[in-house]
C-alpha cells in the first residue's frame, strides 16, 4: 500500500470548476488528463482544457457523471493510472472508491472505508465522541416524529431543532424545525430529500445552535500516518445551507481557540486513519465559544483555494503526491499562514430568489489584478445547462489582513467580473462584502436571510464599458430592423 506508484495520466470524474481546477495542477505536474463529458457538456470548458475527453452519457447525472462502471471503463481504456473525483458527484461515494481500486486504479482521495464511515453521520458522531471531540446534543435514530418529542422532553431540548440526513452533507436533507406542529412535515421532507440526494432516508435530529458559525479545518494526511492541518476556514455565510462565501483565517476565533480546534481536527483524523486531503467541520456557538463536531468531508472542498492562498500550498498537488505514496514534504511547524483570503462562489442563480439561471454566457469578463485568483468552469460563449450544480466560477482575493482582502474582493466583483446571459449571485455577494456587519465580522449562518431585502437593494455599480454594450445592442437592433414605429 505504501508502494510508490506513478500517475502519468488521470481521469477527472467531474466537470466545471472542480475539473478545471484539478487539470491546472495536473498540467503543472505534467500529468495528462482525461475529461469525461455528458452530451450537453460536449463543448464545456473542462473538455477543452483536458488532453483527452470521453463522452460518458446523456445529461442526467446518473447516466453520466454518476455512472461508475462506465467511468472506470473509460479510465482503463484510456490507460489512466488514477481517478480524481473532484468534489460533488462521486467524491464521497465509498463504493466508487472501492471499485476504482478494485480495477487497479489509484483513487486520488482518502481510503474508501474512511469515506464510508464518515459518510454515516451517526457513526461519525459516535467516533468523534470516542475521540473526545465535542458533539451537539442529538437523537441518533429517528423513526417517527414522536421519537423527537420524547427526546426533547427527556433531554430538555428546546426549539429550534434540526433534522439531518445520516448519509448527507452539503446541506441537503437538512430541515430546521421551530415548533411541534412543524415536526411531521419537516421529518418527511428531510427523509425524502435524504433519499433523493443520498439514496438513504435515515435521518437524525440535533439541537439547532442559534447564530452558530461554521468553522472547518483543512487536514492533510499521508499513507505513513503523518497528519498536518492547514489551519481553519470560516464558512458561516450560507444561503439555504449552502456556503457562498468562505474565508481564512476565521475572524471569529482567537489564537488559543484556533490551536484547539486545529489539533482537535488532527486528533480525529488520526483516530480514523485519514490520508489525502479532508476537512473537519465544526459549529462554533458564539455565545459560549464552544465548538462542536459537525462532520468530516472526505474530499477536496470547494473552498480549499483560500487555504492555498494563505499557506502557499497546492492541496490538489499534494493529493496526487499522497496518492502516489509520497510523504507530506513538510512538517506542521513549516506551515504558517501570512495572508487573509476570501472566496466567493459565483453561482448562476437569480440573486434575489436564488432560482437557477440557465443559458449561454454571452459576456464574461474575468477579474484580474493584484491579489485576485479566479477558478472558472466556463468561458464566454459557454452554455450553463440546467442539469448540474449552479457554480460557474470561484473568485478569491488575498491581502495582508481581512480589510485588504475585502477591498480586493470589492475590486474583483465591482470592476472586474462581468457575466451576462445568465444571472449570477455576484450582485448579492458584492452587497454582502460591503455590509457593515460583514466587515465587522459580525454574522451568522442566517446573515443572508436576515438581511436579504437590504442586501438586494444595495447599490449597483455601472461602468462605461457595461453601458456601451447596451448602446451597441440598440445599434445592432436598429441596424437590423430599421426605424421603429415607436420613434
Amino acid at each position: 500500500m505504501t508502494l510508490e506508484r506513478d500517475i502519468r495520466k488521470v481521469l477527472i470524474a467531474n466537470r466545471g470548476v472542480p475539473a478545471v481546477r484539478i487539470m491546472n495542477t495536473c498540467r503543472d505536474k505534467k500529468i495528462k488528463t482525461v475529461a469525461i463529458y455528458s452530451t450537453p457538456d460536449r463543448l464545456a470548458y473542462h473538455v477543452f482544457l483536458a488532453d483527452e475527453a470521453v463522452h460518458i452519457g446523456e445529461a442526467p447525472p446518473h447516466d453520466s457523471y454518476l455512472n461508475m462502471e462506465k467511468i472506470i471503463k473509460c479510465a482503463l481504456e484510456r490507460k489512466c493510472q488514477a481517478i480524481h473525483p473532484g468534489w460533488g458527484f462521486l467524491a464521497e461515494n465509498p463504493r466508487f472508491a472501492e471499485m476504482v481500486e478494485e480495477a487497479g486504479l489509484i483513487w486520488v482521495g482518502p481510503p474508501s472505508e474512511v469515506i464510508r464511515l464518515m459518510g454515516d453521520k451517526i457513526r461519525a458522531k459516535k467516533i468523534a465522541q470516542k475521540a473526545n471531540v465535542p458533539t451537539i446534543p442529538g437523537l441518533m435514530k429517528v423513526k417517527s416524529p414522536e421519537d423527537v418529542l420524547h427526546w426533547m422532553e427527556e433531554e430538555e431540548v428546546t426549539f429550534p431543532i434540526l433534522f439531518k440526513a445520516a448519509a448527507g452533507g452539503g446541506g441537503k436533507g437538512m430541515v430546521r424545525v421551530n415548533s411541534v406542529e412543524e415536526i411531521p412535515i419537516a421529518f418527511e421532507k428531510a427523509r425524502s430529500e435524504a433519499k433523493k440526494a443520498f439514496g438513504d432516508d435515515t435521518v437524525f435530529v440535533e439541537k439547532y445552535i442559534e447564530r452558530g458559525r461554521h468553522i472547518e479545518v483543512q487536514i492533510l494526511g499521508d499513507k505513513f500516518g503523518n497528519v498536518v492541518h492547514l489551519f481553519e476556514r470560516e464558512c458561516t455565510l450560507q444561503r439555504r445551507n449552502q456556503k457562498i462565501l468562505e474565508e481564512a483565517p476565521s475572524p471569529s476565533i482567537d489564537e488559543d481557540l484556533r490551536q484547539e480546534i486545529c489539533y482537535t481536527a488532527i486528533r480525529l483524523a488520526r483516530e480514523i486513519g485519514y490520508y489525502s486531503a479532508g476537512t473537519v467541520e465544526f459549529l462554533l456557538d458564539p455565545k459560549t465559544k464552544k465548538f462542536y463536531f459537525l462532520e468530516v468531508n472526505t474530499r477536496l472542498q470547494v473552498e480549499h483555494g483560500v487555504t492555498e492562498l494563505i499557506t502557499g500550498v497546492d492541496i490538489v498537488g499534494l493529493m496526487f503526491d499522497i496518492a502516489q505514496g509520497k510523504k507530506i514534504p513538510f512538517k506542521q511547524e513549516d506551515i504558517y499562514p501570512n495572508r487573509h483570503a476570501i472566496e466567493v462562489r459565483i453561482n448562476a442563480e437569480d440573486p434575489k430568489t436564488f432560482n437557477p439561471s440557465f443559458g449561454t454566457i454571452t459576456r464574461l469578463e474575468i477579474p484580474q489584478g493584484p491579489g485576485i485568483r479566479v477558478s472558472s468552469g466556463v468561458y464566454e460563449g459557454a452554455d450553463v445547462p440546467p442539469y448540474y450544480d449552479s457554480l460557474i466560477m470561484l473568485v478569491m482575493s488575498a491581502g495582508a489582513d481581512r480589510a485588504e482582502a475585502i477591498r480586493v474582493m470589492d475590486r474583483a466583483l465591482s470592476r472586474g467580473l462581468r457575466v451576462e446571459g445568465v444571472k449570477t449571485i455576484a450582485p448579492l455577494l458584492l452587497s454582502i462584502i460591503r455590509h457593515p456587519d460583514f466587515i465587522a465580522g459580525n454574522f451568522s449562518t442566517r446573515f443572508i436571510e436576515e438581511h436579504l431585502p437590504e442586501l438586494i437593494s444595495a447599490f449597483r455599480e455601472k461602468t462605461a464599458d457595461d453601458e456601451v454594450l447596451k448602446i451597441a445592442q440598440y445599434v445592432a437592433e436598429i441596424s437590423a430592423l430599421g426605424p421603429q414605429p415607436w420613434m
Binding site: E467, V468, K470, A472, S479, A480
Partner: protein
C-alpha cells in the same frame, strides 16, 4: 459687451426689474421646445438641440423654453430621453440662461387633472427657472397650486392668458382675467404675464388694443407675447405688440421655422431695429445658432408633417400650433382625410356653441368631438349627411343666432342628438370637471344633447369650484410602491415623477433605458433612427470622458425570427442577437388566478401527487395542505401544497418537465362548502 441681463439664481423680483429696465424688448427662444412641437412632433432630440446651447449662453435671451408642453411625454415615449436629463445637460452648457417650461395648471405635463398633492410634489422637484402656466379655460383659480409652489421656491411664475379672437372674448374679458392673475400673485412685481396666442390669430389691432389696455391698468406689469405663425401674419403683430408695450416676444431660429411655430429670430430683430425698438440680442450668436440648426435639421424630415403651408383659415377653426398639421395626419391615418374641410368647418361653428380655448386639453376635446360628429354623419348618410349637419349648425349659429326654439322641431331633434356620442372628456368639460368655462356654461340643449333624459341629474352634478377642489389627494407611498413593484427595484425620485405624470409610458421608458442605457443621449440622430447601414460604418462618442466606437461588421439574414449582427465595440468583435417581430414567442402559461397553482421556483417537476397516494389525475380530489407535486431545484425539494380542498381540473405539466418560476402547474376547482 455682454447681453446677459438675467441669470438663473436671480430672484423673481430682480428678474422683473431687469426686464423693466431694458430699453427695448428681449426674446424668449422657443427653439428647444415649441419649435419642435409645432412642426416636428417634438422629435427634435437633446443630442442636436444642445448644440445650440453655447450660442444661447451668449445670446442675451430672456429665457429658453426647453421643457414642458408635450415635450416631456414625447421625450419618454418616443425620444426616450427624460426631461430631467435635458435640464441637466442644458444647465451645464448654458449656465447663463433661464430655463423655461410650459405647464398646464392642473394637467401639468400629463393628460389628466392631478390632485393637489401630486402637483405640489412635482413642481417642488423640477429645476426650472421660469414657469409659464396656462389654463385652457382661463380659470385662474386652477393655477393656485402651481403659483404658490413656484413662488415659494423663489422661481419666476409666468401666468399665461389663453388668447383667441372672438366677439365674446373682448378686451374687457381679458382684463378681468388679468385682474384675477394679479390678485392671485399678489401684484405685478414678481411675475411676468404671458399672452398665449396659441393658434396665432391675434391681429395688429386686437393685440395692440389688449396690450395697451393692460398697460393702462397695470403699467408695471411685464408682458410676454407668444404667437404662432399659422395665419402668415405673425411678424407685423409682434411689432405691434412691442410698440404697444410687450417687453418679451417668443421667437425661434430662422432655420427651424416652418408653418406652425414661431417667427424667425433674425427677421424679428431686424424689423424691430428698423422700427427703432432696441432688442437685447447678441445677433452674432443668434446667427451662429441659426447656422448650427442646418447641420442636423435634415435628419428630422421624417418627423415633419407632410401637410405643409400657412393657412389663414386658422382664424376660423382656431386649431393651435402643432395640432393643426397633426390633425391632418390623424385624419389620413384614420382614412377620413377627405372630411377635413368639413371637420374644420364644424369646429368653427362648434367653438361658438361651447366657448373655451383651443389649447391642450381643450384642443383635443374639440378635435375628438367635431371629427366624431362628422365621421358619424358620414358613416350614416354619406357626403349629403355631412353637408346636412354643417347646414344645420350654420342655420342654428349664424341664421338663428343660437336660438334653439327658433329651429324646426325636427332640427331641434337632430341637435339633441349631436353630442350624444361625444367623448367623456367633452361631457366632463361641460360638467365643470376642468373648472368654470370662461364665458359661462353652454345652453341647456347642449346638456340634453349630451346626456339625454339624465340631463337634469347631470346638471345638478355640475361643479362651480376649481378643478383643484374636485380631486382628492392620492397616496404617494402607494404609487411609489406600485412603480417599484413594476420595475423590481427602488425608483429614483426622477423616475417616480415620470411615473406620476405618465404611469405606463414611464415604466416603458425605464425598462427601455435599463436595456439600452444611454443610447438616446449619445447616438447621432441618423444612427438613432436608422442604425449603421453598411460594413465599416461607425459611430463614435464619449462616455464618462472615455472614447468609444461602434463599427458595423455585418448583418446576418433572418432565421427563425433572429438576426445576428456583428459589431466591433472598441475594436472587440461581438455578436448581437436581434429578435425580429417574427420571432417565435414561446408562450409559457403563467398562474394568474387564485385557483391556478404556479411553480414557486424554476426547477424540475419530479413528482406529481405525493408519496402516500401516488400520482394525481384530472378529477381527483385534493385536500388543503396536501402535497400535490414536488419540484426539484438545485437538488433541493420544494413541495407544492393544495391551498384549499379542491378537484383537479387540469394538470398542466408532465413528470420530469422543467418549469420556470410562475409557470402554471395545476388548475383547481375549489370544492363547494357542503
Amino acid at each position: 459687451m455682454s447681453y446677459i441681463f438675467v441669470k438663473p439664481g436671480m430672484s423673481p423680483r430682480e428678474i422683473v426689474k431687469k426686464v423693466r429696465e431694458l430699453p427695448g424688448v428681449a426674446f424668449v427662444s422657443v427653439g428647444m421646445r415649441d419649435a419642435g412641437q409645432s412642426d416636428y412632433k417634438n422629435r427634435l432630440r437633446i443630442f442636436d438641440l444642445k448644440t445650440l446651447a453655447p450660442y444661447y449662453n451668449e445670446m442675451g435671451l430672456f429665457a429658453a423654453e426647453c421643457h414642458g408642453g408635450a415635450r416631456w411625454h414625447v421625450g419618454i415615449m418616443n425620444r426616450r430621453e427624460s426631461p430631467f436629463e435635458e435640464i441637466e445637460i442644458l444647465r451645464e452648457l448654458m449656465p447663463n440662461v433661464l430655463l423655461q417650461t410650459l405647464i398646464r395648471e392642473t394637467n401639468m405635463w400629463g393628460y389628466r387633472p392631478y390632485p393637489k398633492n401630486i402637483i405640489e410634489y412635482v413642481v417642488e422637484r423640477v429645476d426650472i427657472d421660469v414657469w409659464r402656466c396656462f389654463s385652457f379655460l382661463n380659470d385662474v383659480r386652477n393655477m393656485r397650486v402651481v403659483a404658490e409652489v413656484v413662488m415659494k421656491r423663489g422661481r419666476l411664475f409666468e401666468p399665461a392668458i389663453s388668447y383667441t379672437v372672438a366677439p365674446w372674448f373682448d378686451t374687457k374679458y381679458y382684463l378681468k382675467v388679468v385682474d384675477e392673475i394679479v390678485d392671485l400673485c399678489g401684484g405685478v412685481d414678481e411675475i411676468i404675464l404671458c399672452i398665449k396666442d396659441m393658434a396665432g390669430v391675434g391681429t395688429v389691432k386686437s393685440v395692440s388694443e389688449l396690450i395697451y389696455a393692460i398697460k393702462q391698468k397695470y403699467p408695471e406689469l411685464v408682458i410676454n407675447y407668444h404667437r404662432h405663425i399659422t395665419d402668415g401674419l405673425a411678424i407685423p403683430v409682434l411689432v405691434a405688440a412691442a410698440k404697444a408695450g410687450a417687453k418679451i416676444l417668443d421667437v425661434e431660429e430662422d432655420t427651424l421655422c416652418r408653418f406652425y411655430g414661431h417667427s424667425p429670430i433674425l427677421a424679428v430683430e431686424a424689423i424691430l431695429r428698423e422700427e427703432g425698438i432696441p432688442v437685447n440680442l447678441n445677433r452674432r450668436s443668434a446667427e451662429l445658432a441659426v447656422e448650427k440648426v442646418r447641420e442636423w435639421i435634415r435628419d428630422y424630415e421624417w418627423a415633419e408633417s407632410p401637410f405643409k403651408g400657412f393657412d389663414h383659415m386658422v382664424t376660423k377653426h382656431k386649431m393651435p400650433g402643432g395640432a393643426f398639421p397633426s390633425s391632418f395626419e390623424q385624419a389620413e391615418k384614420g382614412g377620413f382625410l377627405h372630411l377635413m374641410p368639413a371637420i374644420l368647418q364644424v369646429m368653427s361653428l362648434y367653438n361658438q356653441i361651447v366657448k373655451y380655448f383651443d389649447v391642450t386639453p381643450g384642443s383635443q376635446i374639440t378635435w375628438v368631438t367635431c371629427s366624431g360628429i362628422v365621421n358619424r354623419y358620414y358613416k350614416e348618410f354619406g357626403e349629403t349627411g355631412v353637408q346636412r349637419v354643417i347646414n344645420l349648425l350654420k342655420k342654428f349659429v349664424e341664421e338663428k343666432k343660437q336660438d334653439f326654439s327658433a329651429m324646426e322641431p325636427e332640427e331641434q331633434e337632430e341637435l339633441l342628438q349631436l353630442f350624444r356620442q361625444a367623448p367623456g372628456d367633452f361631457k366632463n368639460l361641460i360638467l365643470g370637471h376642468y373648472g368654470k368655462l370662461p364665458v359661462g356654461w353652454p345652453e341647456e340643449w347642449v346638456y340634453k344633447s349630451a346626456f339625454g333624459e339624465a340631463w337634469k341629474e347631470k346638471l345638478k352634478e355640475r361643479k362651480e369650484t376649481s378643478a383643484l377642489e374636485n380631486i382628492p389627494d392620492e397616496d404617494l407611498n402607494t404609487l411609489r410602491r406600485q412603480l417599484e413593484e413594476e420595475i423590481g427595484r427602488p425608483a429614483s425620485e426622477e423616475e417616480f415623477i415620470l411615473y406620476l405624470m405618465h404611469p405606463k409610458d414611464a415604466i416603458d421608458f425605464i425598462k427601455f433605458r435599463e436595456k439600452y442605457g444611454l443610447a438616446p443621449l449619445v447616438l447621432p440622430t441618423k444612427v438613432w433612427r436608422e442604425g449603421l447601414s453598411k460594413p465599416g460604418d461607425k459611430v463614435e462618442f464619449e462616455l464618462e470622458g472615455k472614447p468609444y466606437c461602434i463599427e458595423l461588421v455585418s448583418i446576418g439574414t433572418e432565421n427563425d425570427g433572429i438576426i445576428h449582427v456583428v459589431l466591433k465595440v472598441n475594436n472587440k468583435t461581438r455578436v448581437f442577437e436581434v429578435k425580429t417581430p417574427r420571432a417565435k414567442k414561446e408562450e409559457v402559461r403563467k398562474a394568474t388566478k387564485p385557483n391556478e397553482i404556479g411553480a414557486p421556483i424554476s426547477g424540475t417537476v419530479w413528482r406529481i401527487g405525493n408519496l402516500k397516494r401516488g400520482t394525481l389525475k384530472v378529477g381527483d380530489i385534493v385536500h388543503k395542505g396536501e402535497e400535490i407535486a414536488n419540484l426539484e431545484s438545485m437538488k433541493m425539494e420544494n413541495p407544492i401544497l393544495a391551498p384549499f380542498d379542491a378537484q383537479v381540473v387540469e394538470i398542466c405539466v408532465k413528470l420530469n418537465q422543467m418549469v420556470e418560476e410562475g409557470q402554471l402547474l395545476f388548475v383547481l376547482k375549489p370544492l363547494e362548502e357542503r
